[in-house]
């Protein structure tokens, strides 16, 4: 085996001042080809193993591989870690690692003054500077004087470190990212052995590359140690984290394994009919790994075939799931109507992205809520839920399946690009403690009718083909109540329309009351849903620290909403609905509760920053306080 293996002990390091930090945000940025996503995940893994709480945000370009060095090709990965609870990937980086001028150009605006820049100086060539639109070299023209800049010629360093290994220049170039990683390991005092093992495992099939990357990694680490560029190393003490086994999980992974878990809990095969689309495809890719879990993945010719095949599978007795994003969701519209008429269980996963139309395919947004709740012909009610964090995707996926099966209805599950690709450390649940999902296929022909209803849930019986004596026909035409024959009777139609609505409304009985973060009354309630959970919670925490009477209400159930929402809203002077759209939940709340809520909208393909929310809230509170003052003045 390789020569490195034998020297796997930690390199000796001279002591250097070590400062303790509560919270750090590091962003790696470089060309798509620079391996920033890998660097980010590796660093994150180590951060997790060091016991920090954390959250991450990968941000990659729409192009597969934009031309090297261009602004369009910049890829970034941000990790926020702390000894305190972490809710978001961080508003702004403390440390920005940039592998080329384009990465600097794109990311600099986010760096606060005084922030650290680690720049791969060798890539600041004339040609790269031009591609990034720089007239002069920012590392030299003094324009970065407000920051702590560490310019390192990584390429050269790596080349030196790997000399004599017989690698091609291209292969050497590919190791740069591990050099940067090594430097970060040194800076934040992470142990190197573990990472070296990890690198070796990653390049299992090519031990030579493994050696090279390990060498580059070490070179970076040693550089920190020896170059004495950095005045100090940092350490982030471990957070207080619930004991248990953890893994790193993205929203898409959590959604996938949540769905598989649900199927196992229901003892049903899982059928996923899907058509690839960013940022949902990974759920399909993940599910495709599990044929040994009774998972059938069917990559259909389009989204319409994907959902209709899934409806067929649900009819045939599978847990039917179809996964997609905005434009694909649009194509499923007609078939959702069929699912609603057929009253079969169906889970639809929409990983929202920037719209309308093709929009911003790789960016996040929350603008498909209206579509989920209202976007069909006819009165066509479905359940709509939304996970709040990557880890919550697991739980909400199970919840989606549970509701769909129990109520024989369609459940739309709204994830988004931010959840999909964002990762967090996730505590594995105890498999044995997970509640089974009861499934009762009806097999008794006695008194059977296809549209008989369970008196509690109004669900109709699930009878799968192959069951003797219960042959029957279903379809998209209006059905006669109970009997299920085609019916054009006017009264029957109204009855069925209302029954279908009532069936969905009754799901509220199993929806837990929404909990308020903060006090149950106050001056301001910030309402959110989906992936804004972290940012809103963090913002409310800050606002409360600053003494404001602010609370947060986060909705994971959008239709029907938890029963207590109206009451909660009524306890606050003002209601602010923060969404990554132009006010969709806002409209629903206003209509339902006649509350004069206002909206805070951000539609930039990027999540809220905590600071943005804080500013907005204080603006409202200020206005309020001012208004109060005025009112007072008048009264006097």
């Amino acid at each position: 085996m390789s020569d490195i293996e034998s020297t796997q002990s930690a390199p000796e390091v001279r002591p250097r001042p070590m400062s303790e930090l509560e919270t750090v945000v590091v962003r790696f940025a470089g060309d798509s080809g620079d391996g920033m996503q890998l660097t980010g995940t590796e660093f994150t893994k180590s951060v997790a193993l060091e016991g920090s709480d954390l959250a991450t945000f990968p941000d990659y370009p729409a192009e597969i591989r934009a031309p090297a060095g261009t602004l369009a090709g910049v890829s970034a990965y941000q990790v926020h870690f702390s000894s305190q609870e972490v809710y978001t990937p961080g508003d702004q980086p403390d440390v920005l690692v940039v592998m080329n001028p384009a990465a600097l150009r794109i990311n600099l605006p986010d760096l606060p003054h005084g922030g650290i820049i680690i720049a791969n100086v060798g890539s600041f060539t004339q040609s790269n500077l031009e591609k990034a639109g720089y007239k002069a070299n920012p590392l030299e023209d003094g324009s970065l004087s407000g920051y702590q800049v560490f310019a390192i010629d990584i390429a050269k360093q790596v080349a030196l470190a790997l000399e004599g290994m017989g690698l091609t220049a291209k292969e050497v170039g590919r190791c740069k990212n591990f050099y940067a990683l090594g430097l970060m390991f040194w800076l934040y005092n992470h142990p190197v052995e573990r990472e070296e093992k990890s690198i070796r495992a990653k390049f299992q099939k090519n031990p030579k590359l493994a050696d090279a990357n390990i060498k580059a990694f070490r070179a970076g680490y040693y550089y920190g140690e020896t170059a004495e560029l950095f005045p100090s190393r940092y350490v982030v003490p471990p957070a207080v984290i619930a004991p248990g086994t953890y893994r790193h999980i993205t929203g898409n992974e959590a959604t996938a394994i949540g769905l598989v878990t649900a199927a196992q809990l229901a003892s049903l095969p899982l059928f996923c009919g899907s058509y690839p689309i960013t940022p949902a495809s990974d759920i399909l890719h993940n599910l495709a790994m599990y044929p040994n879990y009774d998972v059938i993945t069917f990559q259909a010719e389009d989204e319409i075939a994907a959902i209709t095949a899934t409806i067929g599978a649900a009819y045939a007795g599978a847990l039917g799931v179809t996964t997609t994003s905005g434009p694909g969701m649009a194509l499923k519209t007609e078939a959702i109507g069929l699912a609603v008429m057929a009253e079969l269980p169906l889970v639809i996963v929409n990983v929202q992205r920037g719209g309308p139309s093709t929009g911003l395919p790789t960016k996040t947004e929350q603008a498909d809520l209206f579509q989920a709740v209202f976007g069909r012909n006819g009165e066509c009610p479905v359940v709509v839920i939304a996970p709040a964090t990557p880890g919550d995707c697991f739980w909400m996926a199970i919840e989606a399946a549970r509701i769909a099966i129990r109520h024989m209805c369609t459940v739309i599950y709204l994830s988004d690009g931010f959840l999909a690709n964002g990762a967090e450390p996730w505590k594995l649940p105890d498999a044995a403690s997970l509640q089974k999902i009861p499934v009762a296929f009806r097999t008794d022909p006695e008194g059977f009718h296809p549209y008989l209803r369970n008196p509690d849930t109004l669900a109709r019986p699930w009878v799968v083909p192959g069951t003797p004596g219960m042959e029957h026909r279903i379809g998209g035409l209006e059905k006669e109540d109970v009997i299920g024959n085609v019916s054009y009777d006017p009264q029957n139609h109204e009855k069925m329309v209302r029954l279908r609505a009532e069936k969905i409304a009754r799901v509220v009985h199993e929806v837990p009351d929404a909990t308020v973060y903060g006090d149950s009354s106050g001056d301001l309630l910030i309402v959110g849903w989906g992936s804004t959970y972290g940012a809103i919670t963090q913002a409310v925490k800050s606002l409360r620290r600053r003494g404001h009477r602010v609370s947060a209400l986060h909705l994971r159930y959008l239709n029907p909403m938890p029963a207590n929402v109206g009451r909660v809203l009524a306890n606050f002077q003002r209601v602010l609905v923060a969404e990554m759209n132009l006010g969709q939940l806002l409209m629903m709340l206003r209509a339902q509760f006649l509350v004069d809520a206002v909206g805070f909208h951000k539609v930039q393909g990027r999540p809220f920053k905590v600071s943005e929310l804080v500013v907005k809230a204080e603006e409202l509170l200020g206005a309020r306080e001012q208004a109060e003052l005025c009112a007072h003045a008048e009264m006097v």
Binding site: T245, G312, Y315, G466
Partner: protein, 343 residues
């Protein structure tokens, strides 16, 4: 729920009546769909498949009301999507026998893509396309099989589009079973249905069907008693391509690979000999193009080739993965990948 192979158990002997549902049949009096329904209800009991193991799936159209009339499981889905719905059913439950009933509009217009992809995948579905060369249910617009120039409600001055030949589309999509029959020719239709039922893989069957309200007599020029023996080429596996009232005409190939009609006198040598099972689709495709008035139109089984079905391959793949990795459990699923312990 297992994904077992289609397993035709010995069912109690069924009769035609067992397959008649309690629903009133709601086609126009005289519609060709009645004859097809009757033939299908006659064939079903012969297949030895219990009623509950049969599913009829359809889209939207007059033809697509079909499932209501069969006393089996049935799904009257949405316009054009029956092949996809049926695919989901069949992949989930390979033990079911799944029939798709569609029309020339449902199957070839809005549903054309699902149809060709189903055939490409070779899902074990039996697809019956009722071709009346018109949209019946919506009261008479042009369909993708309507003849060029035909005046319909939507083309008052004549249709501009050239028609599809459904059999050519099927063979172009690599269908493993392709056949054609006629609504009113019950014995032949029953034969073709039986053959479709026997085939493993997608069986595509075009049925000439008369819509006596909006396109009456559209097939008369080939199917009429008086002319049919000259205008139809009844295919039989292993037999030369012979037709005509006195069976005095045959089809031969020119050296340039084009077909021609020749007069024969008892001697059929030199004629093409029908072979359903050939792998090279060129011959089958040529057959599909034979069209009146230049040629007789073929009915019967054009092509019947055994290839692994999608479900068979899926089952095999599933077995292999289970062999390699074992059956999954929630525990294994959760603990996959890198984990760490906080204590």
């Amino acid at each position: 729920m297992t994904m077992s192979q289609c397993n035709i158990v010995q069912a109690p002997k069924l009769t035609r009546k067992d397959f008649i549902s309690d629903q009133d049949v709601r086609w126009c009096p005289g519609c060709g769909d009645y004859a097809i329904l009757a033939s299908i209800q006659r064939v079903m009991p012969e297949l030895g498949v219990p009623r509950e193991k049969m599913v009829f799936v359809s889209g939207i159209g007059c033809s697509s009301r079909f499932p209501y009339y069969m006393n089996t499981y049935g799904f009257h889905s949405i316009h054009g999507r029956a092949p996809a719905v049926a695919t989901g059913i069949k992949i989930t439950r390979p033990d079911l026998m799944v029939w798709v009933v569609t029309g020339d509009g449902d199957g070839l217009s809005i549903g054309g893509n699902h149809l060709i992809h189903t055939m490409r995948r070779n899902i074990d579905l039996k697809i019956l396309l009722f071709n009346n060369r018109i949209y019946g249910l919506t009261k008479g617009q042009t369909s993708p099989t309507s003849e060029q120039g035909m005046k319909t409600k939507s083309t008052p001055f004549g249709a501009l589009d050239r028609p599809f030949n459904p059999l050519s589309v099927a063979i172009g999509s690599a269908a493993t079973f392709v056949a054609r029959s006629i609504d009113i020719d019950s014995p032949h239709l029953q034969y073709v249905l039986r053959r479709a039922a026997e085939h493993k893989g997608t069986a595509f069957v075009e049925l000439y069907q008369n819509c006596n309200v909006f396109n009456d007599g559209t097939w008369e020029s080939v199917t009429d008693k008086d002319v049919r023996s000259d205008r139809l080429l009844v295919l039989e596996h292993g037999k030369p391509l012979v037709f005509g009232k006195e069976r005095k005409k045959g089809i031969r190939m020119r050296p340039d690979m084009s077909p021609e009609v020749v007069e024969i006198n008892g001697n059929t040598s030199g004629l093409l000999v029908h072979d359903e099972t050939r792998r090279d689709e060129g011959y089958h495709f040529m057959l599909s193009r034979l069209a009146s008035p230049e040629f007789p139109e073929p009915i019967g089984v054009l092509r019947a080739v055994r290839e692994p079905t999608y479900e068979e391959l899926m089952a095999e793949q599933c077995r292999t993965v289970i062999q390699e990795r074992g059956k999954g459990t929630i525990e294994k699923l959760l603990h996959a990948g890198e984990t760490w312990v906080v204590s």
